[in-house]
């Protein structure tokens, strides 16, 4: 192991241990796990009832000698929709709080000069901190995943199979990348602000725009969302008809698409919903097809995260170790 790798691991472990000792973080984690458990529990109770109905139908059809039995319209993974939505909203806040704590902890303890007077580069500091935070995020995501899977299995009476487990793994992997991006945002905003709390406020402001405002604008601008059930469905138009109408609104649709594309949260939502069978149209297809369909969202998720990581490295490089104009 190289000296640099050794230092990065040391910094990552330090970040992880310090973060899990933070009371604020423990409270936020508790909230996320609780709301996830409640959401999946409620969905699972409803699901168990529907599953029992379907089972009764299968039994009746088998008894009456029917050759063709309709496939189950139910999707166990879709019960985790709430879990993914909470990660999208609360998970992002937790990640921002983690980033804020990374910077404010060093400022409060005045330990940055002690670290930077050692052979530690700003890149190693950024990478080590991010890896430690990703460790915390992975732990959090794993806890919510276990809670969700156990609820679906025990209450919904439908344990997920290996293929579903793989899809779920990819969905949660995307959640870690997504939250990692917000960690970088929180750390960058805090490091760039003289007063750490101001940085936190700025990061939360950006979170508000990216996670809540932009997707909402995009959804509201979607012509199909103008009436319940979908405008085009109400007009009796299929996909081709819809596409034909939208050719008359290309600029409008382009602006709407850009608005949605600008939101990191939207890309995570699309991918995680595809992996958890939330969208009915995705359910009949296998994993390679789904990955192909969501490659744009995967690309944007990676691009946003990579850009924010680069920003974190740059910010740590330019961050003054000693406040300028301080003690002489």
């Amino acid at each position: 192991m190289s000296d640099s790798t050794h230092r990065i691991i040391t910094l990552a472990r330090h970040e992880y241990r310090s973060a899990v000792r933070s009371r604020i973080l423990i409270v936020l984690l508790g909230i996320l796990v609780t709301v996830t458990a409640v959401s999946v529990y409620i969905a699972s109770v409803d699901y168990a009832s529907k599953l029992a109905d379907y089972q009764a139908y299968v039994n009746a059809a088998t008894t009456s000698g029917l050759d063709r039995i309709a496939p189950s319209p139910l999707a166990a993974l879709s019960l985790l929709r709430g879990a993914m939505e909470y990660i999208e909203i609360i998970g992002a806040v937790i990640a921002i709080a983690l980033g804020y704590l990374t910077v404010s902890r060093e400022r409060t303890n005045r330990t940055l000069p002690l670290i930077r007077s050692r052979p530690v580069t700003s890149g190693e500091l950024a990478t080590g901190s991010l890896l430690g935070a990703l460790g915390v995020i992975a732990t959090l995501v794993a806890v919510t995943a276990v809670v969700g899977i156990v609820c679906v299995g025990t209450i919904g009476h439908d344990w997920i199979n290996a293929t579903q487990a793989l899809k779920l793994f990819l969905g949660y992997l995307a959640a870690i990348v997504y939250m990692g991006a917000f960690y970088c945002l929180g750390a960058i905003a805090t490091a760039k602000s003289r007063v750490a709390a101001n940085g936190l406020m700025i990061a939360l402001g950006i979170w508000l725009i990216v996670v809540l405002v932009l997707p909402q604008i995009g959804d509201t601008m979607d012509a199909d969302n103008q009436i319940p059930g979908g405008l085009f469905k109400a007009l009796g138009l299929g996909h081709d008809g819809e596409a034909q109408i939208l050719t008359h609104f290309t600029t409008y649709e382009r602006i709407r698409t850009w608005t949605e594309e600008a939101s990191l949260a939207k890309h995570f939502e699309r991918f995680s919903f595809a992996m958890t069978d939330v969208k009915e149209r995705y359910r009949p297809f296998n994993l390679p097809w789904l990955l192909g369909q969501t490659r744009n969202d995967i690309g944007w998720l990676i691009a946003y995260s990579a850009a924010l990581y680069a920003g974190l490295r740059r910010t740590f490089r330019n961050q003054p170790t000693i406040p300028q104009g301080g003690t002489q």
């Binding site: 040391t10 000792r21 007077s117 050692r118 052979p119 530690v120 104009g325």
Partner: protein
């Protein structure tokens, strides 16, 4: 003759338009205990910050252990230890955990052993498993020195190491500095106000006045040069008023 461990050539620094260090030329040889004196705001801490690679000079060059503090930053940080003016460290961690963390960052191969040896050397092994957040100023200062020497650096930078210490703490610190210099051969660069300690500890002094180095010589030569003055404090006051 010993080789120079610290070399400043035309070193200057300014914060915005405010000059803090002006054209400093200074050489400190291996094994010296150098006391950097000067009034508040003279530029002493800025000099240490540059020498410990925490800030870059506006102009001029500075070398520590033969390495340039700007272009060979990593090599410099491998051979230095640094104690800032106010030691805090991670309050939620024990002294041993803090020291182990910094030892690992310095590339110490057996950090646990190095921490135990350092705490034994500084006669404060009883602090190992206590949280730093509960420490008094004196205890924090001892752990601060421990973090600065845990990797056995060649040069030790101390910024106002006696500030906040009681007389007993000051004496302990003085003994520690002399032992580090005598036993481990560390060169010590120390910013201080406490002139009584300087005369007991330092081999060489430098006086900084409004960013300019106005004097540098050994303690022996200094007392020889100013025979009329009773103490180093009198000599220092005379230098300051003359400049």
């Amino acid at each position: 003759m010993n080789s120079p461990v610290i070399e400043l050539r035309g070193l200057s620094h300014r914060y915005d338009t405010d000059p803090v260090l002006r054209d400093i030329h200074l050489t400190i040889e291996a094994g010296e205990i150098f006391g950097f004196l000067g009034h508040n705001g003279a530029g002493k801490t800025t000099a240490i910050n540059i020498l410990t690679t925490l800030i870059e000079p506006t102009s001029g060059t500075a070398k520590v252990c033969g390495y340039d503090v700007v272009t060979e930053r990593r090599d410099v940080t491998r051979c230095i230890g640094y104690l800032p003016a106010e030691v805090r460290m991670y309050g939620h961690m024990t002294a041993a955990e803090n020291l182990e963390f910094f030892a690992k960052l310095s590339g110490v191969t057996d950090p646990r052993k190095a921490v135990a040896e350092t705490l034994d050397y500084l006669e404060c092994a009883e602090l190992a498993n206590k949280r730093v957040g509960s420490f008094s100023t004196g205890m924090r200062q001892r752990i601060g020195i421990a973090q600065a020497i845990v990797h056995r650096p060649k040069v030790l930078f101390l910024d106002e190491p006696t500030s906040g210490l009681d007389p007993l703490g000051v004496r302990q610190l003085r003994d520690t500095i002399l032992r580090l210099n005598g036993d481990l051969g560390m060169t010590v660069f120390m910013n201080t106000h406490l002139l009584s300690e300087v005369s007991k500890v330092c081999t060489t002094i430098g006086v900084l006045n409004h960013g300019e180095l106005i004097y540098k010589d050994s303690i022996e030569e200094t007392t020889r040069r100013f025979p009329d003055e009773a103490s180093l404090e009198d000599i220092y006051v005379r230098m300051e008023t003359a400049s």
